[in-house]
Each structure stands twice: as structure tokens, then as C-alpha cells.
């Protein structure tokens, strides 16, 4: 194909962009004979379909002219109110001025990159961490300082050492982490708030899965622990944590709806940035989500999701025990969508993926989640998407693929 005038005109940052392994994997899941533990897909079995149908009818019957029109950048007011109330349960005062609706959490990550990151800024991240955050922030020239974790999540000693070298902010997925499924203990969360305060390094808390706990005790979001220590702004959160969550895992990702809870000044800056990137999130989808979620439905529905995902996690854990060869280990997440497996050192999971796909099973090689490399023998396994029988078949195939590669 001939060259166009565009060919030498890409921005420098375009050279730092790369396609997402996860997105490429999503394409594999479109082949019906592959069992994919790859994407972070929720199960369509727990989409609240009847409720979405009713909501869609209602919204188009009663508010069509409003929901099909442009809307305000901040988001649909009843939805923002609902989310503020939802967050107040954590024991921290949240008002509508703390809430921004975004077109998925990925947009929130992009917006935060846009308002916060100068080229060369250092971001403290877990190691491994969510690759979508890396992808969003690479475009802004971020540099990453990976902080090691153990079974309880990020290690406060290592974090303090990293904080002493300075950073723009700390990015954490503290609950049922993506990719590892690990949860940061409440003790460590409190310690991290102290460190954040002491070294002046604020925190972005990404919490897409926090509601999906199957067992064990609830741990407060870091924002709530931080907010509890700052009750000087009557009725409004104005602390050092920016909190992200999403409807993708508790309702349906196809609506592309998420939200940010942050100090009002951060929300204002994000709103300005959002005007330049998509004007507003679909009012129709926002009104749908409000009508679906309201009157306590979302809480009932979360119970259902927990039940279904717990069963699938249990099935996957059992299948792993049954089919994995000696030397493979994995995490035991108390909630969420993912677990994390570590193969014997001989195995490179990127090579393994080819063997696995030939056997009609897929996963995400762990390397993708390490900001500065590492984890070549690890992998992320999603247990939410496949039905139990497929999980068993898929893990058995994966076991064979690993044995073949040993």
C-alpha cells in the first residue's frame, strides 16, 4: 500500500503505544470453540436483562427528548446522587460534587493521566498491576516505579522506600486485585494512608471488584479510611484519595459506565478535560443504569453475581488442584474475577499461550501486567466468564498444555 502524507506525522507518544494483549485476546473469545480465561469479561448470565428491558422502555417512554439529547459533562444527576449515597455507606461523607460519571473506568484513567501526568512523572504501582492503567498513562509519558507485593498485597516497607524517592501518586487496586486477585489488609491500608500523608504522595484507588466478595470480612476502601480521618469539610470528601469504580462488573460493561469519587477540585479539572475528550457520557445509558440500579435492585443483583462467581471460582480452584502438574501454584481470591497462577520457572507463559490456543484454551500471560518487566512464568486466569463445565474442560486443557511444555 502506498504511503500517505500521514505516515511521517505521528506524535512521539504514538511510538510508545502498543496494542493491548487483552484486547487482542478478546478477539480469540469470538471463536466459539476456544475456552477463554483471558479477557476480564463478566458473565452474561448475570446481566440484569429483564431490568434493562424495563428500564429502556421506561426511559424512552418518559424521558426520550432528554436522554437522546446531549447532556452535562458531570453526568446524570439522579445517577450521581445514587452513587454518592452508595459511597456514603463506606462511612465517609460524599456529595454529588464528589462524583463524575465516565465512559468506563478506562476513561477515568485517561482523564487522570491527562490532568495529572507530565512526561517523566513517576507513578508508584503494584507489581504486577492493571495493564489498562499502564496503557492509559504511557500516552502521557509516565514512568513507573513497581513496588513488590506479598500475599497481603503491596509491601509497606518497600512502598516507603519507593515514596522517599518521590512520585506523582500511588496507584492501587487494593481489593481482589487485577491481575492477582489479592486483597490488601485493613492494617496495611491504614499504614499506607499514613505513608501517603507523611511523604505527600496521594493515592488513586481503583476498585472495580470490591462489591464482589464471596467470603471473608469486608475491608473498607482506602478512601473511606482516609475520609474518616478528615471530617473538616462538612458533607463533602476532600481527602488525598481518588476512588474509581464501575458498572461493568455489577451491571453490564456494554453500557460503558463508571464513576469517580474525588475532591471537588479534581472533579472540576476532570470535567474540563472530559469536555475535550467526549463532551458527555451517553445520557441514555446513564438513565438506564439509574433505572436498573435504583430502589435497592443493585444490591440484590450483586448478591446474585457473588453467588455465581463464587461457584465458578470454586470450580476453577478444584480443577486447578485436579489438573495442574506439580510446581504450578495459584492464588485463592476471596472475590472478584481473577486468580493468578505461577508456573515452574522453566515455563514462559507467552510461549505457553501458543500451545494452549492450539488446545483451544486461552489466558493472559503475566508479563503484560509488570510495568518494567518480569513474571514471565505467570498468568492471569479469569473465572467469571465461563460456565462451570467449560472451566473444568479449559483447566484440564491448560494442564495438558503446561505438561507438554515442561
Amino acid at each position: 500500500m502506498h504511503k500517505t502524507l500521514w505516515d511521517h506525522r505521528y506524535a512521539q507518544r504514538t511510538q510508545r503505544m502498543s496494542g493491548s494483549t487483552i484486547r487482542e485476546l478478546l478477539k480469540l473469545t469470538e471463536q466459539p470453540d476456544i475456552i477463554s480465561f483471558g479477557g476480564g469479561l463478566p458473565s452474561p448470565d448475570v446481566f440484569p436483562l429483564e431490568r434493562v428491558k424495563q428500564a429502556s422502555e421506561l426511559v424512552l417512554k418518559t424521558q426520550a427528548a432528554y436522554v437522546l439529547q446531549y447532556g452535562t459533562t458531570e453526568g446524570y444527576v439522579p445517577l450521581r446522587k445514587m452513587l454518592a449515597e452508595f459511597a456514603c455507606r463506606f462511612g465517609v461523607d460524599i456529595t454529588i460534587d464528589n462524583v463524575l460519571i465516565t465512559s468506563g473506568s478506562q476513561q477515568a484513567l485517561d482523564l487522570l493521566g491527562k490532568i495529572l501526568i507530565n512526561p517523566g512523572d513517576r507513578i508508584l504501582v503494584e507489581d504486577p498491576t492493571y495493564l489498562g492503567a499502564l496503557q492509559a498513562w504511557n500516552a502521557y509519558g509516565a514512568e513507573y516505579v513497581p513496588v513488590p507485593s506479598d500475599e497481603e498485597g503491596i509491601d509497606p516497607g518497600a512502598l516507603e522506600a519507593a515514596m522517599r524517592c518521590g512520585a506523582k501518586f500511588l496507584y492501587l487496586i487494593p481489593t481482589f486485585q487485577n491481575p492477582t486477585g489479592k486483597t490488601l489488609s485493613e492494617e496495611r491500608r491504614k499504614k499506607i494512608i499514613q505513608l501517603s500523608d507523611h511523604y505527600g504522595i496521594p493515592i488513586i484507588e481503583d476498585d472495580p471488584y470490591g462489591q464482589l466478595r464471596f467470603e471473608g470480612e469486608t475491608v473498607s476502601p482506602i478512601m473511606a479510611l482516609d475520609g474518616a480521618a478528615r471530617d473538616d469539610c462538612a458533607g463533602c470528601y476532600n481527602g488525598n484519595v481518588i476512588y474509581l469504580s464501575t458498572f461493568s462488573k455489577i451491571m453490564a460493561p456494554g453500557l460503558r459506565l463508571a464513576w469517580v469519587i474525588a475532591p471537588p477540585e479534581i472533579i472540576r479539572k476532570m470535567v474540563m478535560a472530559k469536555q475535550g475528550i467526549d463532551l458527555n457520557t451517553s445520557t441514555f445509558n446513564q438513565a438506564l443504569a439509574y433505572e436498573v440500579g435504583r430502589d435497592g435492585f443493585i444490591d440484590q443483583h450483586i448478591q446474585l453475581i457473588r453467588k455465581v462467581y463464587k461457584e465458578r471460582r470454586d470450580v476453577m480452584l478444584e480443577a486447578l488442584t485436579e489438573f495442574m502438574p506439580q510446581g504450578v501454584s495459584w492464588t485463592h481470591p476471596q472475590g472478584g474475577l481473577f486468580l493468578w497462577a505461577t508456573c515452574p520457572e522453566k515455563i514462559n507463559t507467552e510461549s505457553l499461550l501458543k500451545v494452549a490456543v492450539a488446545r483451544k484454551v486461552a489466558f493472559v500471560p503475566g508479563t503484560s501486567f509488570f510495568a518494567t518487566g518480569g513474571g514471565y512464568n505467570t498468568m492471569r486466569l479469569n473465572f467469571s466468564f465461563c460456565v462451570p463445565e467449560k472451566i473444568i474442560t479449559g483447566i484440564s486443557r491448560l494442564g495438558e498444555a503446561i505438561k507438554e511444555s515442561l
Copy 2:
């Protein structure tokens, strides 16, 4: 309110961001007693509501698991095919590989800024131009070279002089321009393609309104004129123009759906960037738009929109003639949503806006659309949103406000 740790941590680009006058004006339109010619709002009277209702029912009945799930970044294949076919009418070969679905055209502008603009890059723009483009690209450190226009649109002589000084690309809204309502003649379009080729400066053609012609002869999109000259890539457009259009003006803005037609390599780069900014556009909304638009419905519907907007434009033109004091002039657009009025030099339209709002009528002061200042006595008037009686009342109020300010 106390300072948080975020307060000194904003990126440099955040200092270049400012709220959009248009978005702030949208808030005014929420007061029911204000007649607003401000926002670029389509009329809710021409939202295809019955068809959206049917489409929503159908999609949730037949494809729920698919449309409520994550989707591919490129967009919903049937919709991309429909848009490729739609574009082929212009007489240029377009395939699905030329098409990307975006979350509104604003997102396309942001994506293009992301993949193309380095800080300090010069962009050639009409003077005035669409302020949303300026807002999107300010965040990437763009600098603007405004090129003067006359009644036929951008002036080729002035454009050539500007091109000789170098630029990353030329940005044009050639048909029923926002804000002026002017249309670039076919002769000039051909001349501009020659200049673009000669000086090696490619073109972004923003065409949200091209379908909404009320009178006069259709003028081909610049992409089509460029594509006609390059038939060496069988079946696929690979020229020097990136073309943007949107469902916001021919269906409903609340769906937040638009599309880009570009060389495949540009589409691939935009897809990579889009993965980092919102993963994908709502599959539900894309499937809705496909079901609404298919089988020729969109063409019938466009006929209706043209009829309604033509009437409103005519009413506004008549009202202007009736109510404007001596010395006010305005454009006579052959389509689109806007006309452009110029007041006597004594009037500053930013000050006038306050007087006008006191009289319960609003518009956008022209200055917002000038990349490097100017047009203090101009204003953009939208004629699509208000019903004819309101247009008459509003223009009469505006006439009074101008008289008061003279």
C-alpha cells in the same frame, strides 16, 4: 476548603484547559424560560423515537449477551459496514478497514490529537473554527495558524501562504461550517487538495452537517475528491484526508456515536489509542444505531430533518430581517444548524450576552471560535433546537438586547 495533596500536582497541560463556553451555555438551556440559540443541539422533534424503541426491544431480545458485553475497539461490524457503504456513495472506495466508531466526534478529535500532535505543532484552521477541536487539541500543546475565509469559505491564497510556513495538518469543516454556516465551493476543495499534495500537508475534514442540505447543489466531501484521484488501492481508501462524521445530527446525540473514515494505518493507530482511553464504544448503542439506521431508514429520516430545519432556518432569517437593527448582518446557510451574525463594531457580544440573558435569550459569542482571538462583535446562532414560535420570540428579544447595547 483545605488543600489536598493533589493541589500542586496537576500536569502542565491542565493549565491550558478551560471550560467550554458552549458547555456552560448548555446549563442555561436547562432553565425553561430561556430561549437558547447557544448549544449545537439538534431538535428532539426529529429524534427517531419509535424506531429507537423498536431497535432497543429487538437488540435486547436477540443479542443481549453480546450488546451488554465488552466489544471490539474498532466497533460493531454491521455498523462499520453500513457506514462504509454510506461513504461509497460519495464515489470513493471505502471498506470496513477504513472505518472506526467513536464515542462522539469529540472523541475522534481527541484521538487524532493523541496520535498526531506533539507540543508546539502548528495546525492550520479556519478563522473562526469549531471550538471543540481547539479544546481537544489544546491539551496536546497544539498551536494554531488561523486562515482567513470569505463567503465561499477558506481562502486558497491565504491557505497557500500559510502552508508554505509548514504545519502538521489542515483542519476544515467545509460544509455548513460550525460556527459560520458557510460552505466551501467545489472549485476551492479541488484547489485545496492540490495545495495539500503540493506542500505535503494532509487534511482533517470534519463533516457533521453535510447531510443536512436544504437547498443548492450538493458538494462532494474533500475526501471523495481526494479519493477520486487515487484509485491505486483496490477497494480501500488510502489518501490524505481523514473524514469525520456523526450520528448526533442525523439520529440522536444521546447515543454518543460518530465515525472516522481514514487510511487503514491511521485507523490502526487510532484503535491503539482508543484502547487506552475507553476500550470500546457502547456495543448496545452501536447495535441500536445500526438497527435504527438500516434498510434505508436513515435516508428517509434525513429528509425529515432537512424539512424541519429548513423551516426553522427560514423563520430565523425572516425574524432577523424583521427584528435586527441597522448594521447587523448574518450568513444565509444552505444547510446545517447554525448561522453567524456580525454586529456593529460598537458591540462586544460577550457583554451583549449578559444583556441578552437578562432578556431570556442566549447565543454563543463569536470570540470562542477564533483560535487566536478576534470576532468580538460576532455571534453564532443555532436554529435547529427551538420551535419556530420560540425562534421569533428569541430573535425579537435579541434585537432588543442589541438595540439596548448600541
